[in-house]
């Protein structure tokens, strides 16, 4: 379970997040939305223990990240898979080395065993292992890089929680659709708790039933798609205005197009 309790975070004198509280249960999916620079990605960094809040607590499965040792933090991180914005693949390593990075670094598995696991995982995310395994990340398209990043996160930690930072930003519609399907597949087949940070509202509707809207560092909305549609908060309404049509389409059909 993921829990943020009255979290406030900032750099120097600039407040990024202010008094944020929410809980996400096991196997639950949530979307964190908001305009660029509203502090969405910072929440993921706090959940990974890459940053610490000035006030409040971040808890993963009851463990308070502010209070645990480095060793325990590493254990917590093992339960979390993170897909960074733009993939954050190690650009000097091949796709195979990227996907098998964690196993190479942390386990004593043989190279052959790791290669087999890497190929399986590349297949799982819909990539032809023979074609991509020896390529460098820069030789892949944006969508393929994002899928390699997902494969790397999955193989690394066999996670209970997946965090995605803007997984579809900058991708063409076909690649976006592939990524959305993959995120849904993971959430449903593996029962992983998922948090997706995005400002691509049209994609967000296809990924979860629960929406959190951050505006100016504050959590201004937490609810379902129907509650989101009916929200009378001016900031939420202004933020959603360009996407009303997509929202109504998703709601009227009662399914997520990416699951078709």
């Amino acid at each position: 379970m993921i829990e943020l309790r009255n979290v406030t975070f900032g750099y120097d004198e600039r407040v990024i997040l202010e008094d944020i509280s929410f809980t996400i249960g096991e196997s639950e999916s949530a979307i964190i939305m908001g305009p660029s620079g509203s502090g969405k990605s910072t929440i993921l960094r706090l959940l990974l223990g890459l940053n610490y809040p000035q006030r409040g607590d971040v808890l993963i499965d009851g463990m308070n990240l502010n209070q645990i040792s480095d060793r325990d933090l590493e254990e917590v991180r093992k339960s979390i898979g993170m897909v960074f914005q733009d993939g954050a693949l190690f650009d000097s390593l091949t796709v195979g080395e990227n996907v098998g990075y964690y196993l190479f670094e942390h386990t004593k598995q043989s190279t052959e065993e790791i290669e087999t696991a890497v190929r399986e995982m590349l297949g799982f995310v819909g990539l032809d292992a023979d074609q991509v395994v020896d390529q460098l990340p820069e030789q892949l398209s944006g969508g393929m890089q994002r899928r390699v990043a997902i494969a790397r996160a999955l193989l690394a930690t066999n996670p209970k929680i997946m965090l995605y930072d803007e997984p579809t930003t900058g991708l063409d519609p076909q690649a976006t659709d592939l990524i959305l399907r993959l995120v849904n597949k993971l959430t449903e087949e593996k029962g992983i708790s998922t948090i997706v940070v995005t400002h691509q509202i049209s994609d967000a509707f296809f990924l979860a039933d629960r929406f959190l809207v951050i505006f100016g560092g504050r959590l201004i909305f937490d609810g379902t798609i129907a509650e989101l549609r009916d929200s009378d908060q001016p900031q939420v309404r202004a933020f959603l205005a360009p996407y009303r049509q997509s929202l109504e389409l998703v709601e009227s059909k009662g399914f997520r197009p990416a699951q078709q």
Partner: protein, 252 residues
């Protein structure tokens, strides 16, 4: 002034954390070997050229000057002192600062700007141990070795000038030179590159880790890294000569 103080404080704490990380497992041997290969072998040609031309230029200038006083026989002695104690370490330090520090800062800065450092941390790998320690240890090994290479090449360059321009006998040049290879000179000649290696590694890695502002920020950090490490090498060289040399000159 406030920025300078903050930067110095940041560098100070970063250096402390880097040193502490050296003694905490795991140690990334493969990274160290990569660093030794890339920075050592890659810098060799630069060091050879620098040593050869600096040694010859220095010898030529001194040979002409000494000849006016009928003292050109002192060339070997002067070369030993100036190259081993001063020129060899400083030139090597500056070359390494220019080539290796720039590479380290640019690489780490680029990794930071593309979230690769965060990805590494998320996978339970401490970038300090994975990136900084192998580069620090690599430079601690490389800078003294490269300095010795610079010294040898520069002294050989000096011999070329002594033998073929100043017409000093080879035996005399080398015997007067070897006479000055005493503990004090050798100690200073090895101590300086050892100290420079820490300075260059700390500044280069710190600048990479603290770079901000995308590709432009990485470019700026790389420039600052080269400038700051070069100036620090020159300043530290002065202080070592001034204070350490004073302390050990009795051994000369």
């Amino acid at each position: 002034m406030k920025n300078f103080a903050a930067e110095f404080q940041g560098l100070f704490f970063f250096s402390g954390r880097s040193l502490a990380a050296v003694f905490r497992p795991p140690f990334y041997w493969r990274e160290l070997i990569d660093q030794l290969y890339v920075n050592g072998l890659g810098s060799l040609w630069l060091i050879v050229l620098t040593g050869a031309f600096a040694g010859q230029g220095f010898a030529l200038a001194f040979a002409n000057e000494l000849a006016e006083f009928g003292a050109k026989d002192y060339l070997g002695r002067i070369m030993a002192i100036s190259i081993i104690r001063e020129l060899g370490p400083v030139l090597t330090g500056l070359m390494v600062a220019a080539r290796v520090a720039a590479g380290i800062t640019a690489e780490i800065g680029a990794m930071k700007s593309s979230n690769q450092l965060d990805a590494m941390t998320a996978f339970g790998i401490d970038p300090m141990r994975k990136l900084v320690v192998p580069r620090l240890v690599g430079l601690i090994i490389l800078v003294p070795v490269l300095t010795i290479v610079t010294n040898v090449i520069a002294l050989v360059g000096g011999w070329v000038i002594a033998a073929f321009v100043a017409k000093i006998s080879t035996t005399f040049y080398w015997s007067t030179l070897i006479d000055r290879l005493v503990f004090g000179n050798l100690f200073i000649g090895i101590m300086k590159p050892f100290v420079f290696s820490f300075i260059i590694a700390f500044i280069a890695c710190y600048k990479g880790f603290s770079s901000e502002g995308g590709t432009r920020g990485v470019g700026r950090a790389t420039t600052e890294s080269v400038v700051l490490s070069s100036i620090s090498v020159l300043i530290m060289n002065f202080f070592i000569t001034r204070f350490v040399w004073q302390a050990i000159r009795g051994f000369v």
